[in-house]
């Protein structure tokens, strides 16, 4: 918008120059129509564009001048020396307004008022030339429709005049727009269509009967037809669908509907009812209605029936309470099923039997659908979690004497229940931090020109297979200088460290870091941020921080939708398979002997001029076996830095059903779980974050010598945890 404002300013300055030129010419030659037109148009443009781009003062000011020059243009007013001087004065004032807007200030309003009053003297008192500026226009879109709670059904008859097409109107988009507003059944009537020899291809012969069920208001529906109201007959009536009829899902009989509409009389109906044929047929035979009218009435009946059924269904279904454990069991079983199905698919592929392949495909389709439903059952709106925070914010802000409001957005965003449970602590921590460290006291806020009440916004939204949860405060933001100084004092970074803004902000996640020099009961000693980060990463998520000093901080959590099944990248090392969570994978590249030679013994690979360190997974886990001539590097990105993992072979994407490793193995570093593949083999899911940490700490570099028995050879970590 700023760029557009700037463009308007430039345009306005230019217009002022034109305006002044025209005014000076006009002074010499007061009757010159062309120059009068120029002045009028310039004022008109300043008014119109000014209002568009937020220059309300200019818009209001030029409105009066424009009115005066409209009178001049219509010959109702003569150009005088006095008027020209006044208009030139107004040009200076507009210029002053433009200059002021650059500095975010306002031009001398008293002067504006004086000039406006001078101009108003030229306008006749009746003021009949002045028109209210903001009448009801096509501004049909302007009033956001406040939805009413109950669905209403309307009968809309749209009968365009023959000349509908002549002003460029196409009825189809209008009908589409209607369909976007609610459930519609649209019936087109062609009964007015003449024979081919009489037909004028440029005329509109069709008319439409629309039955629509919607929450929109009648005005909104009429708004759709605003451009065609002069060129068509439009009737809109609410269909009687009150509670009196609600006891029954059935709606009125077709005959009654036709009677309601005045298409037939009671006698016709009674006569027709006397025979045994279907009422529509009978009426048709009797010649009192035509087929279109019948089908339109049938559509209405159908629509109301569907609506009633839906209402009944909503009332009945509501919800069933089920112990969470049962759902977990269900998801586990579905996981097993997916695994078995993968096995079946693999088996069928080998057998080359078309019948078996058909069954396998069907099972695959069904199990995928079942999986989606099972996962969906465990989804809960995150609002259940958010609502806890209201109380938290209220209590803490009282305790600290701060005035803070909590805004929640996207409460309807759904997330796996298990995930929601585990998110509670990290989120509470982050909100505590915002209240304690982020938002300033009311006095400090007022002093820095902010509203005295601080705001914390908690929002959630979907982004692909992830959910983004962000906590934003409009507090003082992170003081990077203070963070850097503190980190040096604590020895977390070397004194000569050259860090950019982002890296410094990332320091608050380093274990043992605290920016608050005083300990409060609210956020403790600030040991929390690293715990938050670890917590989120253990859920397969990531934490990002953005902060501007003086303006506030936003912490965004990016989380996978579910904990039970993830997208993984299946890789092979020797005879072992591993899964790397696809969310962290950036790309896969080859690692050739040449690459290794060029690195001079260091574990570095150059990818598009970027040097990336890598971890040799085979060696790290002590896996023996022949090394292929070309290995592959899976490049991952975590917390802004890229690390490669060398594997023998990248197999491909894999729907990974996550299995726990069980009690005995749960402390293994570098592995977060396991999954069972189609052929029954186990693949370990790598905890990329931990692996990187281990290697960086240099504690897991010991490689077990050869001769380990076949199977898992995660030597050093297992020994460590067993000890």
């Amino acid at each position: 918008m700023d760029a557009q404002k700037q463009l308007f300013r430039e345009e306005a300055y230019e217009l002022l120059t034109v305006l002044e030129g025209a005014l000076l010419d006009l002074e010499q030659n007061p009757g010159d129509g062309e120059n009068i037109g120029k002045v009028f148009r310039a004022m008109h443009t300043l008014k119109g564009s000014g209002a568009m781009f937020g220059f309300d003062d200019i818009a209001a000011f030029t409105h009066t001048i424009e009115t005066v020059y409209n009178l001049v243009r219509d010959g109702k007013l003569k150009v005088t020396q006095e008027l020209v001087s006044l208009t030139l004065k107004s040009c200076d004032q507009i210029r002053a307004m433009l200059d002021a807007s650059l500095k975010d200030s306002v031009a001398d309003t008293a002067r504006t008022d004086i000039i406006t009053m001078e101009f108003q003297k030229y306008i006749p008192a009746e003021g009949d030339t002045e028109n209210p500026d903001q009448g009801p226009g096509p501004s049909c879109e302007e009033n956001p429709s406040a939805p009413q709670a109950r669905l209403m059904t309307y009968r809309i008859r749209f009968n365009p005049h023959r000349d509908l097409f002549a002003n460029g109107t196409n009825p189809v988009p209008l009908l589409n727009e209607l369909q976007g507003m609610g459930e519609c059944s649209i019936n087109c009537s062609m009964q007015d269509l003449p024979g081919l020899d009489e037909m004028d291809p440029e005329s509109c012969y069709a008319s439409w009967d629309i039955i629509m069920t919607t929450q929109a208001r009648e005005d909104d529906i009429r708004g759709i037809f605003i451009f065609v109201e002069d060129t068509s007959d439009l009737s809109l009536e609410t269909i009687q669908d009150g509670p009196a009829y609600d006891h029954d899902i059935e709606y009125k009989k077709v005959g009654e509907i036709l009677l309601d509409r005045g298409v037939i009389a009671r006698d016709d109906l009674d006569k027709a009812l006397g025979s045994q044929k279907r009422i529509g047929e009978v009426l048709l035979d009797a010649g009192v209605v035509d087929r279109t009218q019948i089908s339109s009435a049938l559509a209405e009946q159908e629509q109301i029936r569907a609506l009633r059924k839906k209402r009944a269904a909503v009332e009945e279904s509501s919800s069933i309470r089920v112990p969470a454990q049962k759902l977990d069991d269900l998801v586990n079983l579905v996981g097993e099923l997916v695994t078995i199905q993968a096995r079946l698919t693999q088996f069928a592929a080998h057998k080359n039997d078309p019948d078996l392949a058909g069954i396998a495909e069907e099972v695959e389709r069904l199990s995928a659908a079942l999986r989606d439903i099972a996962m969906g059952i465990r989804m809960l709106p995150i609002g259940t979690l958010f609502s806890k925070f209201k109380r938290l914010v209220r209590d803490l802000s009282h305790e600290l004497g701060k005035d803070i409001s909590l805004v929640m957005e996207g409460e309807e965003t759904e997330l796996d229940k298990a995930m929601i449970d585990k998110l509670s602590d990290p989120l509470v921590h982050l909100i505590r931090n915002s209240i304690d460290h982020g938002i300033e006291s009311s006095a400090a806020r007022v002093a820095s020109g902010k509203p005295s009440q601080g705001t914390i916004t908690v929002s959630a939204s979907h982004s692909g297979a992830y959910v983004l949860i962000s906590i934003t405060d409009d507090g003082k933001g992170l003081d990077t200088e203070a963070i850097k100084a503190k980190a040096m004092e604590k020895g977390l970074i070397p004194p000569d460290a050259a860090l950019d803004e982002h890296e410094i902000q990332g320091l608050i996640f380093v274990p043992g870091f605290s920016t608050s020099s005083t300990v409060t009961s609210v956020s403790g000693r600030g040991v929390g941020m690293d715990v938050v980060k670890t917590g989120i990463e253990s859920l397969g998520g990531r934490v990002e921080i953005r902060s501007a000093k003086g303006y506030g901080t936003t912490i965004t959590l990016k989380l996978p939708l579910t904990l039970a099944i993830i997208d993984g990248l299946l890789v092979a090392i020797g005879n072992e398979f591993f899964i790397i969570p696809l969310g962290v994978v950036v790309e896969c590249v080859d690692l050739t002997d040449d690459d290794i030679k060029h690195a001079h013994g260091r574990h570095l690979i150059k990818v598009r001029e970027e040097i990336i360190p890598y971890i040799h997974l085979g060696r790290h886990f002590g896996l023996t076996g022949e090394r292929p001539t070309i290995e592959q590097v899976v490049i991952t990105e975590l917390g802004g830095s890229r690390i490669g993992f060398v594997v023998d072979k990248v197999v491909g994407q894999h729907q990974t059903v996550i299995k726990n490793l069980g009690r005995m193995l749960k402390e293994i570093d570098g592995v977060s779980g396991a999954t069972i593949m189609g052929d029954g083999t186990v693949a370990l899911i790598l905890d990329v974050n931990r692996l990187v940490g281990q290697v960086e700490a240099g504690e897991a570099t010991s490689v077990c010598g050869g001769g380990s028995p076949a199977g898992l050879k995660i030597t050093s970590p297992i020994n460590k945890s067993a000890a």
């Binding site: 557009q4 120029k38 568009m52 818009a59 501004s139 460029g168 988009p173 209008l174």
Partner: protein, 121 residues
Amino acid sequence: MGRTILSVDDSASIRQMVMFTLTKEGYTVVEAVDGRDALNKVKATPVDMVITDLNMPHVDGIDLIQALRADPAFKFVPIVMLTTENTVERKDAGKHAGATGWIVKPFKPEQLVAVVRKLLG
């Protein structure tokens, strides 16, 4: 999508706003600085819709609409007036000339998009 819209306005900032808003929605926007320019532009580029200001130098909006409607190629093309004036007389003059609809300035980008969608589908 892929439709071309002619935006006629003597104000560069309004033209830019129209251009920016509609380009974002996938439409192609051709600009003309007044009615005369517009009549030249449509000779070279076929357009699916016209959005025009009313008060412009040389050929004004109403004359432009009349001229376009007289051209068989523009008989059924939607033409929308984009105007600061909201008087019944001006609207009627526009409708009489053959305008399909109108938008009153100042308008919100969403309004513009809604009207274009309404008319182009």
